[in-house]
Symmetry: C2
Subunit: 463 residues, 2 copies
Amino acid sequence: MRQPLTRELTNLLERGRDRQLRLAVTGLSRSGKTAFLTSLVNQLRHAGLEARLDLMPAARQGRLLGARRVSQPDLGVPRFPYDQAMAALDADPPRWPAPTRGISELRLSIRYRPARRGLLRGDTAELALDLFDYPGEWLLDLPLLGHDYPSWSRAMLASAGQQRRALLADWQAAAAELDPAAEADEARLAEVAQRYAESLQAAREAGFANLQPGRFLLPGDLDGAPVLQFFPLPAILEADDTELARLPAESVYATLAARFRHYQQHIVRPFYRDHFRRFDRQIVLVDVLGALNAGPERFEDLGQALGTLMQSFDYGKRSLLSRLFAPRIDRLAIAATKADHVTPEQHTALTELLEALLAEPLKDLRYANVPVKALSLAAIRTTEAREVVHQSQRSPALRGTTLEGEEVLVFPGEVPARLPEAEFWARQGFDFRAFRPAPREDGALPHIRLDAALDWLIGDKLR
Amino acid sequence: MRQPLTRELTNLLERGRDRQLRLAVTGLSRSGKTAFLTSLVNQLRHAGLEARLDLMPAARQGRLLGARRVSQPDLGVPRFPYDQAMAALDADPPRWPAPTRGISELRLSIRYRPARRGLLRGDTAELALDLFDYPGEWLLDLPLLGHDYPSWSRAMLASAGQQRRALLADWQAAAAELDPAAEADEARLAEVAQRYAESLQAAREAGFANLQPGRFLLPGDLDGAPVLQFFPLPAILEADDTELARLPAESVYATLAARFRHYQQHIVRPFYRDHFRRFDRQIVLVDVLGALNAGPERFEDLGQALGTLMQSFDYGKRSLLSRLFAPRIDRLAIAATKADHVTPEQHTALTELLEALLAEPLKDLRYANVPVKALSLAAIRTTEAREVVHQSQRSPALRGTTLEGEEVLVFPGEVPARLPEAEFWARQGFDFRAFRPAPREDGALPHIRLDAALDWLIGDKLR
């Protein structure tokens, strides 16, 4: 994936002159990455015309002239499928775009009029904005680099809650029968590994997020390769590390440990080395409402997953990992997505809940002097805020179309501004509905506060 | 894909003691690679018991004791899906296994009794047989390494026959409108590239084989990446290379040329460097009967494709390419597959036709002193040879079940022993039917001359 020197040099020079910015978008699956990136590109392409970007000074002052797609520098990275995403939104009935798998990229050339007047009035400048989209699940693999195979096995087996454990039960029963010292039976290991991958998949479908190893969920071309066929070995819990290390290369233990190391070296490290290290700015999207819907165990699991994920940005902790993969990220945004799925007066609570969920990692990041902003937004707004009068009382409501195509007028419920406690979960459930996108009108996509996110992420480069 | 040094060393040592052999199986799509590899593994696993391997002296003499699957050395290469293939053959009704995509690998440990008696009678030895399966289409990309972008464009535009040209017409009309000097429009190039990939796909479905670039047909994780979005540029035909070279980096020409170079460096070379160079022996499978069915233009196209493909093995030609990627291959087999689709007395003609089709590359290989053997075989026999008596004349026939499930008794026609000439095509068509596998009985899969192929490829290592 290395570029020829001349291209690297050009990139470096452009970056030096503030003319290039590498902005990465991530989030766990279903957090709304594809909708976010689609809308972001759409807003910038319509900037100066129909886009409503009032929270972006450069746009409000009429200095943002527009953007066009240009050739991306990384030829081996799939292009972000903007046209396909727009086609889905334009379909009848409109559909959510298909989620991206793995990393994708798109370069925009943004034209703007600098606020500082040059010698010639009316001068325009260009900013090359490289957009990257990658699965947040990949960042969950970072801690795996700090483990060896026995310690990773122990950490995995200790971490699951009750519901997660139930999903893992089948696999765990099969894995518990494996003797670390026995000679590895290729077909048997493949079978147990397959069950492990299936239980991760089932856990994800049940709403869990804190799943390792991340690539087991989206194997791509590596489907069926031994490097994706390892798992925690329950028998290790009672074993002694020195004795394990003496087992021959053909043993179950040594076979799985070798695959674990290969995964570290050839799957996790290359992502950090070739991509992550090179991002300038980052936005992390979080589906807080979805986790509220899914109940206390999954909500807590999301908090843990995000804590793990944010470690990748915490280059304040001078650990071995952070020294190896120190990113150049100088601005970070954390956004609760799908804000259009609750009524507007709940948006502040949504942001506060996100901050509460991320309290620990946010403290660390602020201590490490990484500028970070939390906000709530809807990349593509699907509902309209209304008021309902009931027994002469006005109350807020949303009008929208459900995924099944039913038009509804609802009050989806209150978002707690703090982490909900046990009694709270018992007293009140959540039931936020999922809406589908509205039929599209001309002009830019409707959104909520995408402009605020954009201004935080690129606004200072458009001065 | 590099292995740790210790593994490389162990491999080298095992190879040095004749205890390891890397056998590669290739062929263009639908040539029967998956069936071949499945049956090969099946025969070796049943060796010493039910397998009928009379053409293999080691088996005939009762010295071949069996084989078991062990861990493969390359952890990043998908494992050949033997169990899934056997499950398809065991289904009711039996199905052909799903074709593999890309490279896959499987290691067998073969146990045998050496013919040379040791001090102790009854001593057994083991041979580690690494089996690789990869698309023949990848070898069609070798000549691409000898081109720069303008010469490749010219070669591609010149080579198509009439029917191929018709399939390319749509794409060519769109590509002809592109001005090499114009600034590249990212979305437009992606669209024309998409049409090119679709026309390659259509050509393959219509039975053509000589298609470049090979990865456009099976993009995998690179789907949507710019490196798979180039194509020959018709306007180059009248352009001057020096002038082209002066065009700026943003031009259509320079953009496509950069992607072409990236494809050479990051897609074609790594396969030769990481895999091809390391194979010890190779079998190339050819669906001669399918090409006879498809008519003269496609039959000729197959001949050209095979000529191109065989260049990869011709390390006698001391070209730059062969010096860079000199394989260690010391034995080569060429096999016409699906021999069970014609009556037994046609098998000799089938082999002769294969040799005629490959006359030029076979001459080169023999001159270069590469031991090569041509044969016809059926990896999984689907028919039974019968005789039909009609007006007191006996004639050969086949009994089998068509893909649609119809039981038939047919004489599929005569295979010409020499390259058919124009008048021959006009006089007589071919119509070999495709059969589905028979319901499986216990024991090894039925086959025709798979044992002969096996003996040529590994027999000398079992002495």
